[in-house]
């Protein structure tokens, strides 16, 4: 009659509760980088209502959990996005939105948009399409929730561990690097 849980099992239960809370409360930073930002209002409002899946907007990076990169990302915006991302509190997730974040999309030969987002930020979920419709966005959120529930959405840990590599890639594009430290 030994019901006392050992350490490993109890930490598993704690992790399960933590992940359950995290996946059911996603606060999305309201920051539109490209044309995809126009798909966010219908996703959030009454037609598609992302709030019923516990996805809600957050006003500032400090409060947010999810950073949506909505579409193309110019080098100038990348600097701000990195800064916003680093201000967010762990655990935090990134969703790459639209084909521009995956391989440059229709801006593949543009001189000032990046072609591959995961060189600069740790992306947990990609949503493809140009632009993805709100259904696709909701599917992306569902995928992210599934990953969080399994404890596999660990992009933020990966970013912290490989900060040097990410910094190298970022500084290759952003020549005038005047930024605060990580999570200042």
């Amino acid at each position: 009659m030994n019901y006392v849980l050992n350490d490993r099992e109890s930490s598993k239960i704690v992790e399960f509760i933590k992940n359950f809370a995290r996946k059911n409360s996603l606060w999305v930073l309201a920051y539109g980088t490209g044309c995809g930002a126009i798909e966010i209002p219908p996703t959030m409002t009454s037609r598609y209502d992302a709030e019923r899946f516990s996805v809600r907007g957050a006003a500032t990076p400090r409060q947010a959990d999810v950073l949506l990169i909505t579409g193309y990302l110019s080098v100038k915006t990348l600097k701000r996005v990195i800064r916003s991302y680093e201000q967010m509190q762990d655990p935090k997730y990134v969703i790459g939105f639209g084909s521009c974040t995956i391989n440059g999309g229709m801006y593949w030969d543009s001189y000032n948009t990046i072609k591959q987002l995961d060189l600069y930020l740790p992306v947990d979920v990609y949503i493809n399409g140009c632009m993805p419709r709100p259904e696709a966005v909701l599917a992306g959120f569902a995928k992210l929730q599934e990953l969080i529930g399994k404890g596999e959405a660990n992009g933020w840990k990966h970013y912290k561990e490989n900060l040097e590599w990410y910094r190298q890639n970022q500084q290759k594009l952003i020549k005038n690097w005047k930024m605060p430290d990580y999570n200042w």
Binding site: F20, R62, Q63, D65, Q89, D90
Partner: protein, 301 residues
């Protein structure tokens, strides 16, 4: 009442206020969603939000005042709650009430906002500074009619004790809301401003101020603010129920009355856009103040 009984009552009061406050906020989100023709989040969504915020693994602050700011809010919420008698004629749920608690509550309800303003000032975020200015302006706006309404009640019944007010209402089988309607109307009109709901949400204003004073608070600080917000919300509702709506003979009545009262600012806020700062203050100093002063005149005559 032994020490342990008091402690148990206090802790249980805080716990029930916390849970019901979070549920009220969840109901609010659901109501707003239904009015906007959406399905809306589950009612327990706010519990998950608070849990998630407490489970955050990094929490940044920029100095000791910012570190303490949510604690001021929590201290205000808890202390306000504990000086309000919850259940009529019950020693166990009377908590710390004493003769003159209304006057103490008038002080306590301002204290947390001022402490939080100091903390928000230390973040150095310009949005915080603007939010604090607006918040203090609005505080001046709603404190005036609110205090005058309470003074009118205090003068009319010649008491500064919440217990006495509740006892009078229970013994005469009536509510002060009917006996002193002008003060009650003034209190109702300032209620959205006290909760910072639309049209008085100039302080948080997510789309223009990036949530104002709270813009640099993340992780556990945000979680503490949500918890204290729910407790303080319940405390304010309980105070108005005690003063104007006859108090409660049991926890069930208290919850029914506070929820019904809470629906008034909620429904009012869902259909209203945002005031500008000067509009907010003018709207608070016009009809609410007029009603409060009429109530005061009736009480003194």
């Amino acid at each position: 009442m032994t020490f342990w009984q008091t402690l148990g009552a206090v802790l249980l009061t805080i716990l029930i206020a916390f849970i019901s406050g979070l549920f009220y906020m969840g109901i609010r989100r659901k109501v707003i969603a239904r009015i906007q023709n959406r399905y809306g989040p589950p009612v327990y969504q706010n519990f998950l939000d608070v849990m998630k915020l407490w489970f955050k693994e990094s929490n940044i602050h920029h100095g000791i005042m910012q570190h303490l700011a949510p604690l001021w809010m929590m201290a205000m919420g808890v202390s306000t709650l504990l000086f309000i008698p919850i259940v009529y004629n019950s020693d166990f749920w009377a908590n710390f009430t004493f003769k003159g608690d209304i006057i103490l509550l008038l002080y306590l309800m301002v204290f947390g906002s001022l402490g939080f303003a100091l903390g928000a000032g230390q973040t150095g975020n310009p949005n915080s500074a603007i939010g604090v200015t607006r918040g203090l302006s609005q505080l001046v706006g709603f404190e005036l009619p609110w205090v005058i309404a309470l003074i009118a009640v205090m003068i009319q019944y010649k008491t500064t004790s919440l217990t006495d007010l509740v006892a009078w209402q229970q013994q005469h089988h009536t509510w002060i809301a009917f006996e002193q309607p002008f003060a009650f109307i003034a209190a109702l009109l300032v209620l959205p401003a006290m909760f910072r709901y639309s049209p008085y949400d100039i302080v948080v204003a997510p789309s223009e101020l990036a949530s104002g004073p709270a813009s640099e608070f993340g992780g556990k600080y945000m979680g503490l603010m949500m918890s204290s917000g729910s407790i303080f919300m319940f405390a304010k509702l309980a105070l108005i129920v005690d003063v104007f709506l006859g108090g409660a003979t049991s926890w069930l009545w208290m919850i029914i009355k506070t929820l019904a009262l809470y629906m008034i600012p909620v429904l009012w806020s869902t259909v209203n856009p945002r005031y500008r700062t000067e509009q907010a203050i003018w709207s608070l100093w016009r009809w609410p103040l007029i009603f409060a002063v009429i109530g005061l005149l009736i009480a003194t005559v």
